[in-house]
Amino acid sequence: MSALEPSGAPPPLASTADLFLIGDQSIDLPRLLDSVFDPSLGGVAVFLGRVRSPNAGVSVRYLEYEGYEELALKVLAAIADELRERHGPSRWALQHRLGRLVPGEVSLAVVVATAHRAAAFDACEQAVEECKRRLPVWKLEVTEQGSRFVPGTATASSTL
């Protein structure tokens, strides 16, 4: 089955049709595209975030991602539901990888299908921002100069 032209009737529009993945599995973009297929949703936007090197002028060997998977899956579902409320009918595939990723590998994938293109672009960008702000994921950056946890700046909930 091609990602661009899947066969068969699409499942009904519902949040249960969304796809949320957190973990070690690599990002399978055709699968994500298939999962948001619906003929009534004519605009599909994709964002991929790759591990960047150099970062802040320093060559990166790899990033070691960790996450609170159970909470992260709930956060992804909440993001999709909130943006569906704002942008109308939409189908979502949201994935964040965990574990060791080398520069160039994709760590974050946001795929959204909406009725028209403007909502797809907006919803996709907002989902990326919400993932950066709320998703309980952290990364250890390992460079030629040593390693450090990349300081997070976002706290979506009250702090100690």
Binding site: G67, L108, L135, V137, W138, F149, T153, A154
Partner: protein, 79 residues
């Protein structure tokens, strides 16, 4: 009561473990649990971290119950 504590990133590294059991008096809050952890694990800096109880973001003042899973979450840095 006994709760389970999950620690992530810098907090996990500072404590030397990602999960531990903690004995607390009844009616202890998430903030009380963090304070006790700072006593038992010198060098653990919990200020600025968020808390989650049973895999849902929560307020630090939330009262814990026996068997709860409390997670301490540094500011997030995904993507």
């Amino acid at each position: 009561m006994t709760i389970t504590v999950k620690l992530f990133a810098q907090l996990r590294s500072a404590a030397g473990t990602g999960q531990l059991s903690l004995e607390l008096p009844n009616d202890a809050t998430a903030a009380d649990a963090a304070a006790k952890l700072r006593q038992t694990h010198p060098g653990l800096e919990t200020k600025g971290s968020m808390v989650a109880i049973n895999a849902a973001y929560a307020e630090p003042g939330t009262v814990l119950r026996d068997g709860d899973v409390l997670a301490l979450l540094p500011p997030v840095a995904g993507g």
